[in-house]
Symmetry: C2
Subunit: 276 residues, 2 copies
């Protein structure tokens, strides 16, 4: 996976094959399957390339249908479902070997003003007071943890206090280096990082993680509502909870806040969490 | 709109035009535009007709793109995006006058068991202790309220206690009469009723409703995660809240619980809430 913010930006910068048709490259990785956040972020970039500059994405809804193959690029077909005055809709289908692996619909809005409210940010230690996850993970020095740190080196993560009881998890996250000023880069990076750990919160009540050997975990869908402007190279609190698990599936909800408490995005993901 | 549970079931029973192609009728209504819950429920029925009987819908994600015309039927095109062993995916596109008005993706799972947890149901008065919304609305006797009651006569609604501060709203809901025992009927009816009031909760902090003259309201997307079995002809608590509004959009989250406290579905909807 990209080791720096620059490498991450390059991964999310697609090649244009034809009108509405794009190709995304693969990073160096030891991961067996394509990381869902990468597909989602690349699909968002593909869809957004077909939308006028004065419109911004306000939501995306998507399904993961097949595991991606890390050895070949991913092709993104964008369908211009609707072009409206206020809202514009795109569908993007990601495929490999001629088969769809991921389907996204995204909606864009011409910027306007209106009512404003938000849930308050939970009380957590500031990033400066929080423990770096890399430091915490490198201490025990297991090979698995070292590998995890190498894969996610483009991001900095800090535990935001001790986990509360129940299915909840909180950390601070941002890119390790500065990002360029284009809005789409920040939206795509948020999309990328939003899939990293989310479904794991559904396993917290069972003392397991997505890498536990006795559970099979896979993202099924992924949804983001973008509420307010933000930068992905500044600290974001990712507050995650799981309201329900049943039928070998878990639902996870996430909220991303800036350090000064603005709610910038809500994320939802259902995942397969199947006992082996 | 349908005045009885039987009429509602008939509205959601589509005509098959060809393989993967269906047509949905319109109800008698004084509404200016097609009710979003009707399109969503009909699209779910269309998609589910193409899926093996031993699979059940576990989620749907959708976008409203254009207002529907109540004077002509709606045509539903279903695309069999993926048929898998455990999971199957369908896309459905609703159209009128040759233009797409609504796009849904739905995912189906072969029933399996696994981990189980859920958020507890909030403490509210039971349906027996709650005020019937029809009784409450018919007292003042305004024409608007009488009309509202006629449109939604297929459903019974009861206020579940007094609204708490902030953007929250709770009521009990079920069909006015018994429904047949087919699972899809109950899933489609839940989908229908889940769009009835949801976005209104984003207006609660501003003392407005979707029928306030100084605000333009329209559903933008609609998502349901189905967690556990239920009947739509038995009371369901619909607990609604709005975590955020900004940019003339509001996000609303809903949770549906059975009377004995089982969480059966989570609903999410973003809507346009534009001050006029």
């Amino acid at each position: 996976m990209p080791a720096t913010a620059d490498e991450l930006v390059a991964l999310l910068d697609l090649e244009t094959i034809d009108l509405n048709l794009f190709r995304g490259q693969q990073p160096n990785t030891t991961m067996q399957r394509v990381f869902g956040g990468q597909v989602a972020a690349q699909a968002l970039v593909a869809a957004t390339r077909t939308v006028p500059d004065d419109m911004a994405v306000h939501s995306l809804h998507s399904y993961f249908m097949r595991p991606g193959d890390t050895s070949v690029p991913i092709v993104y077909d964008v369908e211009r479902v609707r072009d409206g005055r206020s809202f514009t809709t795109r569908r993007a289908l990601a495929r490999q070997h001629g088969r769809p692996i991921y389907a996204m619909t995204a909606s864009y809005q011409r910027v306007e003003e209106g009512f404003d409210h938000q849930d308050p940010m939970p009380e957590v230690p500031s990033p400066a007071e929080s423990t770096d996850i890399a430091a915490a993970l490198s201490k025990p020095g297991s090979e698995h943890r070292q590998e995890w740190l190498r894969e996610w080196a483009a991001l900095e993560l800090r535990h935001a206090g001790n986990p509360t009881p129940g299915a909840r998890s909180r950390y601070w996250v941002k890119t390790a280096q500065e990002l360029p000023d284009q809005r789409l880069v920040h939206e795509a990076v948020l999309t990328y990082l939003s899939d990293m750990t989310l479904i794991g919160v559904a396993l917290v009540p069972y003392g397991r993680t997505p890498s536990s050997p006795d559970v099979q975990v896979a993202s099924l869908d992924h949804t983001i509502w973008f509420h307010r402007p933000f930068r992905a190279d500044e600290w974001l609190l990712y507050d995650q909870s799981s309201p329900s698990a049943s039928g070998a599936r878990g639902l996870a909800l996430g909220r991303l806040f800036t350090e000064d408490g603005r709610l910038v995005a809500t994320v939802a993901q259902e995942g397969l969490i199947r006992p082996r």
